[in-house]
Structures are given as C-alpha cells and as structure tokens.
C-alpha cells in the first residue's frame, strides 16, 4: 500500500522576512529534508485499531496439523510461529530460531531457539515443543496432511506406523537446541520447516484440551483467538507475551459469510478493511479513479492448466497434444479468468519467482493445430470428454473456452462438470479422465513443487495420483531425480529448467493462466503488500486512525 495522505502532511516552518536568495534555498532544502523525514516517520507502522477481515466460509480448523490451504495461512500466521519464515520475498530467515545450520552432507539441521520467545499463556518455547509438534503431525490419529512432508526425518515412518514411540531423528540436547536428522539430503526440507504445520505448540495445552484444542488454540504468534463462533466470526487479540516487532493492530475481527459482491460493498462502505474481490468488482474498481488505489493485485504462485491424459488415446500422441496447445487461445483464457493474471507460458509460475528461457511456446495457430492433427491421423478431429470442477467459476469458464477453441479445429468436446470430490477421484485415477481443467498453487517456493509433484513419472500411482496427465518421460524423471538429490541451489535450478523445457516439448499440459488475486483494501490499511508465499500478512498491516 502507498503511504497515506495524512502521513505525508508537512509541518511547514513559519515564514521569516528578509532571508535573501540563499536563505530561501537553504529554507527549501530544510523543508525538503523535513518532508522526507516526515514521510519516513509517517511510513513507520503505527500500533492500534481493529483490522476487519472477511471470509465467505469458515475453515475446518486453524490448528496447524489440520489447516492446510492458502486462505487460512495468513490467519494461522497470527497465532502460530515456527523456526523459519520468509522475508518479503522467498529468502528464508530465522523466525523463532536465533540461528540455524545445515550439515555439509545436507542431512542434519541444527536450530538454536531465540531466548525469550513465549507462548501466549506465558511459558517459554523450548526445543521439546517442536519435537512434540512434529510428532503430533506424524501421529496417524491426527490424519494431518503435513505428515507426508516430514517423512524424510529419520524414524518418522516408524513412528507413523506405530513401530516406535518417538521420532528418533528429532533431538533436543538442551532446551534451546533442536537437531533434525534426515534420511537423505533434501534441499526442500528447509522450506518445509517454514510451513505452518511445523509451528510450535504447547504440549500441556494440546493434551489438556485434546480434540477441543482447536477452540483453545495457543501458539507463540502475535495474537490469540479471543472468540471463535463457528461460521460466524473470529476475534483475535494481542498475545501479551509476544516478543516480535510485528502485530501492529490491537485486534483482528473476521466476519464469516456473504459472497464477494457483498464483501465489495462492505469494503466500499467502510464496514470492512480487506476482502478478496470477484472479477466483476475488480474490474469495477479498476475503472473507477476513486476506487482504483483500493485494489491490491496479489500474484498467486499458481498455474491453471488443461491436462491431457497421455495414457489415453489420442492424447498418447505428442502431435495431438501439441496441436491442442496451438488450438487454445491463451489471451482468451486470460480474459475468461477476468483479466487478472498473466498468460502462462510454462509449468512453474513466474511469481515463484521463476524464469526459464528457451521453453517451447505454442502460439495460437488453429491452422498449425489442424496440420498436426492431420499428421497424427485425425484429419476430422475426434471426440473427447473434458472434466472440471463445476463450483469453480473460473474453471467452468476455461472449460467452455477450451471446448470452443478445440471445436474450431474439429475436436468435439463433451463438458463434464463434477463436484470437487468427484472430480478429484476421477482425474487422479489411471485412465479415467481423458482431459480436464485444474490448477496448482505452490506449497513452498521451489520448482520441484510443480515439476516433481505434478509431472514426475516416478510418482504415478493407479489412484490418488497428482500427475493427472499420467505423463512419464524417462529423461524428465532422471532430471527431476537428480535435482531432488542435489543440495546445490544453482545446479538444481538448471536441472529443473531442463526438465520444464522437455515437459513443454512433450506438451502434456496447456498451461493457461498464472492467477492474480484482486483484493480490495480500505485506504486506512497500510503494509498490505503481496507476498510470494503467504499471499499477504495481516500481522504486518497497520491502520491510520
């Protein structure tokens, strides 16, 4: 957000007489200096006030072992903190650790905890709290999504399967030292340690409340939940023991309910401070000179895509897949997404941030598409079925747009709208869905989170498979395997770039759009900036009175 008009207000010195030309110049310099100082001072975060947020629906829980979605993360950051965090970009910084080190073989992580870091009930955070929190994620009783990410820790699997009472790879030689040993060197483990489910929790309270801990959540973040009325709203207030410098507002009120049209009205009326906008409202705000500054564009590290099942005819033919890449009008896809975002030219989103030159591109060219189809033996096109999630407006629009584009080159598409849970089952099951529209948002800022998770042939399973194109190229699998084993950042980048180039040449996807989320922000809110991993951070926002 820009600095507020009020904070730029100058304190002009009184006008004096007979100062002369140099006197005026000197005075001007003083005024400019004073102005600059005033701006800096005005931009400094101010404490106090209530930040008013909204969400159309409630979350299952904000408990770090349960909540795992983009929208709840900024709220979890109000309550919980962990060992590592990101700066304003994607660089990892110690959060509640004072320092950290990775052994030369990449298998041992050592953290020293910052002294004086306390939970909201006043007890100091200790290394044992992290061990307990990690084991809670790995405990099958919690059925935490996070367990997959911690399986590289020595003894994690045995603990998960009930064969060991504790995870042997987690050690606390003293209250402030935590040692994590991995089975193999895994570069991305450092990013995993910045994910919410590795945040510290106080064992005594989790055990005291059991399943009801979600209603009594205490962490070491800047706020605590004072009130949570399911599906109605939340009230967050300061953690009196928080030692960090952020957490500027005194209180955060979050309303649950309503749709985006209502939220836009409420922001405009001043009833809310921050709300995600529908494409229609975002366009309205863009075209209104008064409201334009209220619109914050948050690039999402995500890629929306049209996948083709490479195990199903005729998508097993690379010429068909390339033809479809030429047939889809990317610019139109962007318009269908409401115009917010950028045309996707690769698998990994640029906002990760990520660049990769020499990636094969497929310009919109229906004639070339027909030619490729003829070469593949489909001069009259073919019929196929396109699955998509019916409740996702953007996916519905894209599915319709792609169907129209493909019809131009002779491919008849039967649209198959499915509810979310049915879609997931269908597209993740081998030889079930010929093609479909979907998207992926990053878990951590590493290309492996897209290339390896979504397109590695080594990860193909008969059901519950993330590689919905069921794409496998031994060369790509090898590159991804090498990148996964490497702990040298630059080497990994080059391997991932090579893999992405090969994948795009094989064309199992038509990447369509890298989304930008339009957010409406009341001008009284400052510090609302887009974050490449967390989208935005409420605890770093402050208010003008």
């Amino acid at each position: 957000m820009n600095a507020p008009a009020q904070s730029r207000r100058r304190n002009h010195p009184p006008r004096s007489e007979g100062v002369g030309r140099w006197g005026w110049i000197a005075l001007l310099l003083i005024i400019l200096a004073a102005d600059a100082t005033a701006e800096e001072g005005g931009a400094a975060p101010r404490r106090g006030g209530t930040l008013r947020l909204v969400s159309p629906t409630d979350w299952r829980s904000l408990d770090p072992v349960i909540a795992f979605d983009g929208s709840s993360t900024p709220l979890q950051k109000l309550l919980f903190r962990g060992l590592l965090d990101y700066d304003g970009g994607i660089n990892l910084i110690p959060d509640q650790a004072s320092d950290w080190a990775v052994s030369p073989d990449g298998k041992t992580y050592t953290f020293h905890l910052r002294p004086g870091v306390k939970f909201a009930h006043g007890r100091e955070v200790e290394a044992a709290d992290y061990i307990y929190s990690f084991e809670r994620v790995l405990n099958p009783k919690t059925a935490s999504v996070g367990q997959t990410y911690l399986m590289d820790i020595v003894g994690a699997e045995e603990f998960n399967l009930g064969k060991a009472p504790h995870v042997t790879g987690l050690r606390a030689p003293d209250a402030r030292t935590l040692i994590i040993e991995l089975k193999k060197a895994t570069f991305v483990f450092r990013y995993i340690l910045a994910m919410n489910f590795t945040d510290a929790l106080p064992r005594e309270l989790v055990e005291k409340y059991g399943k009801d801990f979600q209603y009594h959540m205490i962490g070491s973040g800047p706020y605590v939940i004072k009130e949570w009325r399911r599906h109605i709203g939340y009230r967050f207030e300061r953690n009196p023991f928080y030692s960090g410098t952020d957490g500027y507002v005194d209180r955060v009120d979050l309303m649950i309910g309503g749709d985006q049209a209502l939220h836009a009205m409420m922001v405009e009326r001043g009833d809310l401070d921050f709300a995600i906008a529908s494409a229609a409202d975002a366009v309205r705000f863009t075209h209104d000179a008064r409201l334009r500054p209220w619109l914050l564009r948050v690039p999402l590290a995500s890629t929306d895509y049209f996948f083709m099942n490479t195990e199903v005819k005729p998508f097993d033919d690379v010429r068909v897949r390339r033809a479809i890449n030429h047939a889809v009008n990317h610019e139109r896809m962007l318009k269908l997404a409401g115009g917010f975002g950028t045309v996707a030219h690769g698998i990994v989103p640029p906002s990760m941030p990520w660049t990769n030159s020499n990636v094969p591109v497929y310009p919109y060219n229906p004639e070339r598409a027909r030619e490729l189809l003829r070469e593949a033996g489909f001069p009259n096109g073919f019929k196929t079925q396109l699955s998509f999630i019916s409740s996702r407006t953007q996916d519905s629009r894209m599915a319709g747009g792609i169907a129209e584009d493909l019809r131009v080159v002779g491919i008849e598409v039967e649209l198959q709208p499915l509810i979310y849970s049915a879609f997931e089952v269908k597209v993740a099951t081998r030889k079930s869905a010929p093609c479909g529209v979907w998207g992926w948002q990053q878990d951590y800022p590493d290309a492996s989170n897209f290339l390896d998770v979504l397109l590695s042939g080594d990860r193909i399973t008969d059901t519950e498979c993330n590689n919905t194109a069921f794409y496998s190229n031994p060369k790509v699998n090898q590159l991804l395997g090498q990148a996964g084993a490497s702990v040298v950042a630059e080497e990994r980048l080059e391997l991932f770039r090579a893999a992405e180039r090969q994948i795009m040449a094989d064309a199992p996807w038509v990447p369509t759009v890298n989304e930008v989320v339009p957010v409406l922000v009341n001008p009284r809110v400052h510090g609302a900036v887009a974050h490449p991993v967390w989208m935005y951070r409420y605890e770093k926002m402050w208010l003008t009175p």
Partner: protein
C-alpha cells in the same frame, strides 16, 4: 382427541425416518470421495486412508446408516466431517438467528397483509383493490435471492438506511425480514381478501349488520376472525416452509442461521450436517403440522365436534 394426536405423532416419526433414510441414500449416491474434502486436495493416499477409517467412509453405506441410527437412538446427531463440531450444537447455535428472522418476517407480513386483505375486501372492485392485486401478483413472482440483493444494494449500500450484512442487533434483521415479508404479503393479502369476501356474504354477517353492529365490528369481530381460520393452517405450513426462503436471504445478508449452514454443508458434502439440517427442517414441518392441528381445533370448535 388424544388418540388423534398420538396417531399424528406416530406418522410424524414415520415421516422423519423416511426422510432420513431417503436423504442418506441420496447422499451416498452422489459421486465423490468425502475423505478428499475432509483431508484437502493435497492429502497423501495414507492420510486419505486414515480419514476414511476415522469416519467409517471405508465401510458400506448400510453399515454407516446403522451407525447413524445407533447414534440417533442415543441422542447423538453426529459430528461435522469438515469442522468436527457436534451437528446439534451447529444447529442450535444458529437457530436463534433463523427463528428471530422468521418471527420478524411473519410479524411484518401479517401486519401488512391483514389490513390490506380486509380493506380490499371492504372496497372490493375499487382501484385500490385492483392495484393491490397487481402488486400482490408482482411480489409473488419475485425470486428471493434477487429481491434480497436489490434491497441490500439500494437500501443498504446506496442509501445507507440499513446495515448491509451481518447480525449484531435487531436492526440487522429488518432488511432480510422485509425480503421474506414482501414475498409473502401479496399472497396473504389475497388469501385474507378471498376469505373475507366469502365471509362477508355469509348469513351471520347479514344478521350482524341487521342487528346494527358497526361496520368495524362486522369486519373485524365477525369477518376477520372467521376469515383467519384457513389462514392459520397455511401460515403454520409457511412458517415451516420459511426455511427454504431463509436459505437465500441468510446467504445474501450473511446471517449466521440454519440457511447458511445448510448451503455450506451441501457445498462441502458434509453428510452429518446435511442430514442434521434436513432432519431439523422435517421436524419443524411435522411440528408445525401438529401445532396447526391443535390450533385449528381451538379456533374452530366445530372441527373438534366433527372429530
């Protein structure tokens, strides 16, 4: 009287059982994996297996139905798959909002519909009567979600006469209740009008007039009291049916009632909550039927005599 009541009660239980069975079977026929919704899109196969085991999703539907009825027999309506909140608690915390909204709406529409119905019957055929008929027909054909959004946009957002959304005080209910009331006023005004016209032509009204009873006395003591008897029946059913209307209204105005709970549970395929809200609605309908039955006999003793 008691036998009749008990018979009705018995049929009510059968109705509730039939409803729950039908909804459970239909929900199980919906394609999809509830575990995916509970665990999230990035859950591993191992986690999905754990979730399925926890909620008995890996067992046949008839066995799950058995668990459900066993729970019901112990007064346990189940826990939400999504929030893990007890379903009874989820419904009960939202009931006051929905009940308040429905009450204010009914008071509003009856407060307008009764005088409108009586006066149009009194001045039957006048421009006022015809104008009311046109407006009544118009309001009857308005979709609830559209009317709610229009009232919200114009009266709350543009003119700022009302709060836009949420439920903090009684004032927040006025606009949503007005939405429901506008949709019903026309129908009730015409219903009361028709009954009044019939009643006013009855011999006992002629007799009352002949005895010199004032016109107000004829209209309200003799006319309206009798004209309201069939209205009570329909009102009882409509109050139960209001649950359908509040789904749209509550969602547009972000009111934390049973309507929003129902919508959210459907989107999440949260089977226990869907079952809970459907059973609760069925209970309201069945209960309203019973109450209307009793009220009807109280208002019109001739019915009791016939029974």
């Amino acid at each position: 009287m008691l036998t009749r009541f008990l018979t009705r009660l018995g049929w009510s239980v059968v109705t509730m059982f039939g409803t729950s069975l039908l909804v459970f079977i239909l929900l199980n026929a919906v394609p999809g994996d509830v575990a995916r919704i509970v665990a999230g899109p990035k859950a591993s196969p191992a986690v999905l297996k754990q979730v399925r085991a926890r909620y008995h999703l890996d067992e046949p539907w008839w066995r799950r139905l058995g668990y459900y009825y066993a729970g019901l027999a112990h007064g346990d309506v189940g826990h939400s798959f999504v929030t893990d909140q007890p379903v009874a608690q989820a419904i009960l915390t939202r009931l006051p909002t929905t009940a308040a909204l429905a009450t204010v709406a009914v008071v509003m529409w009856m407060a307008v519909a009764v005088p409108l119905g009586v006066s149009t019957a009194r001045y039957r055929g006048s421009i006022f009567d015809r104008g009311t008929l046109v407006v009544a027909t118009l309001t009857l054909s308005l979709p609830a979600f559209w009317l709610a959004r229009m009232l919200q946009y114009w009266l709350a957002y543009k003119l700022r006469w009302f709060p836009v959304a949420g439920f903090r005080s009684f004032v927040d209910l006025l606009l949503p209740a007005a939405t429901l009331a506008i949709l019903a006023i026309g129908y009730y005004a015409r219903l009361i009008h028709a009954n009044m016209v019939e009643v006013l032509q009855s011999p006992y009204v002629t007799a009352a007039r002949a005895k010199g009873v004032s016109e107000m006395g004829v209209l309200f003591r003799h006319g309206l009291r009798n004209a309201l008897i069939p209205v009570v029946t329909i009102l009882g059913m409509d109050v139960a049916g209001l649950l359908g209307g509040v789904i749209f209204t509550e969602n547009v105005f972000a009111l934390p009632g049973i309507g929003t709970l129902a919508v959210q549970s459907v989107f999440n395929l949260d089977v226990p909550v869907i079952m809970g809200t459907v059973l609760f609605s069925a209970l309201i309908v069945v209960g309203a039927n019973l109450v209307v039955d009793v009220l009807y006999q109280w208002i019109d003793p001739r019915i009791k005599e016939r029974v």
